[in-house]
Chain length 351, copies 2
């Protein structure tokens, strides 16, 4: 197979972790006889510095014409505490999601047998967790009208949802549930928000098309509690953009490390694969960041291309590295810590 993959390293530790995913993917390509054509492009603070724009048109062209996008991280602290900054790296991320039509962010949460005791949660609560949060990614309060009034003293943001936006996400959720344990949970705040009531109404109307799927409706505050209390109670969850942002980060606690959790964002044109961790600026350039989330994101990419064996080969080598302790300092626990690049080299060599 010939694959054109847009490569967006981004900011902070992005370039370092992306490098390792490239090494591993190239090793897979070699072993399984594929040809990967990497197309690097600028995003985030790096793109602002270079061309004044966090998601330049040129980058969009490269992504829109690729078979898939592999993405590192975006964000730089010099913008975070400056409320007056006009251009922000995150705008690039949002623009990218919108222009590529990446309406569903798929974030699986699972545990690694060899790491289960690293979780802040007790073993018996999390062992066997296997859930997927489907976060709506191109709507809601991220993309509604916002601004200031009263000479700057009033600020507003609008959470807007259209029925079709909910339908296409819910459809994915129902389909995933059918392939798994046939349980779908719609997470909203329908006791307060009108947009949540539209979510509930829309999903309820779709239930009849999937008679085998057992659908539950829960409030986001209750889920924020239960998710860490009894994660095994959940299977497929669908939720709005902002709620998904919060809950997926929270869910990452279950596995014990954000450095392990991959994600995909699927859309109409092309899909994007990225670790759920951020740009982690404190670690940038130090060759210490954990590359596994990005490597596992590449596995999701292969899986979605129906290259199942290839995806499994990546997951296997990751498990092997964990079992053998070839890990970065966040997981080393007093034992020898490997560098980011060393972990990548080891994984590629062991494919």
């Amino acid at each position: 197979m010939k694959l054109n993959i847009a490569l967006l390293a981004g900011d902070g530790i992005g370039p370092e972790v992306i490098d390792q995913a490239v090494k591993v993917s190239n090793a897979i390509a070699k072993k399984f006889n594929h040809e990967i054509n990497w197309k690097p492009a600028l995003t985030g603070a790096a793109a602002i510095d270079a061309v004044g724009e966090p998601y330049p048109d040129e980058t969009h062209e490269i992504c829109a014409n690729a078979d898939a996008v592999l993405f590192g991280a975006i964000g730089h602290p010099r913008f975070d505490n400056d409320p007056s900054a006009k251009v922000r790296p995150e705008q690039g991320l949002l623009k990218m999601r919108q222009k590529l039509g990446l309406f569903a962010n798929v974030r699986p949460t699972f545990t690694f047998p060899s790491l289960i005791d690293k979780s802040p949660l007790k073993r018996e609560r999390i062992e066997g967790t296997d859930l997927i949060i489907l976060r709506e990614l191109t709507g809601g309060i991220y993309f509604g009208e916002r601004g200031r009034k009263d000479g700057g003293d009033t600020a507003f943001d609008t959470m807007t949802y259209q029925r079709f936006e909910i339908q296409r996400l819910a459809k994915k959720g129902f389909e995933m549930a059918m392939k798994r344990s046939k349980k779908l949970c719609c997470v909203d705040k329908a006791n307060v928000l009108e947009s949540s009531r539209l979510w509930r109404e829309t999903v309820q109307a779709m239930e009849k098309d999937y008679p085998e799927v057992e659908v539950s409706y829960e409030f986001v505050d209750a889920v924020a509690m239960r998710l860490v209390q009894w994660p095994k109670a959940y299977d497929v969850m669908i939720t709005a953009n902002l709620f998904g942002d919060i809950l997926t980060d929270e869910a990452s606690v279950i596995s014990g490390s954000m450095g392990l959790m991959p994600s995909s964002s699927v859309g109409s044109k092309v899909s994007l694969y990225e670790p759920i961790h951020g740009s982690y600026p404190q670690a940038a350039g130090k060759d210490i960041a954990n590359p596994l989330a990005t490597v596992l994101s590449a596995a999701m990419l292969f899986e979605d291309m129906d290259l199942t064996e290839e995806a499994q080969a990546i997951r296997d080598v990751v498990n092997k590295s964990l079992a053998e302790g070839v890990v970065t300092e966040d997981l080393a626990d007093g034992a020898k810590a490997y560098k980011t690049s060393e972990v990548g080299d080891w994984l590629a060599a062991n494919i």
Copy 2:
């Protein structure tokens, strides 16, 4: 002292847990020579059934003229899955918060030595946790404009904040921080939301008035993760209504049980005291609900009236009941479970 306390039992387990708090408060009044004049009033589904309104004017009069309000819980499942319901119990709660001007919800999170192993989180992560989330309660997306467009196919909610709303909450936060460990964390989503940028800007401008307080700014998604990872990293936190709703429920996991966590809502006229748990309809009428969160809310009430000894007496007797295993089934762990009313009787008798 003579106290007029409005008594809003509400729905579900509300009446049962309120009864126990009344027993305990009366025992305190007797012991310390106070006179409590309880003024019962209707709210929630109970009020809808009786007078068609979840927060009737009569109830408001009683609350507005009381020295404090003791509140149980609101909510009934028959409204939850009916997106077309015109009157909802929760509207009563929101109306009450707004009309009484309860702009700050104070939710402490701490651990009980005798219950620490009930938490889903590991002991070493949580032991010694002592944080307070100050949730803005009369603004934000709970009270902004909302509605439908396009014949019902589009729904919207507006998150609006005015500078003074942020200032008065932040002021409380700074003052609390000064009395505690001088650390304040402002939780927002300033990398996306304009209203969050107004929060950050407003709090930043107040920093100079509290030079001793160390202020940090964190994104809500990151906090959702860190709060269960390292709760001891936090002390006083301030945040918007919706974020506070989610984070406070999540924080309740730390203590191991929602049934234990009290809260107060302070305002311009009168303050309100309530357990953070909901109406828990599955348990209603069964005399099994844990009354301690409501009893501890009464302790917060006495504390705010500067009746410090009285408040401490309540906390002491609660700790004693936990240590001696006089607890409801949620905490019994195989041992004998006491009824809600039995726990209340025991507490009152041991004051």
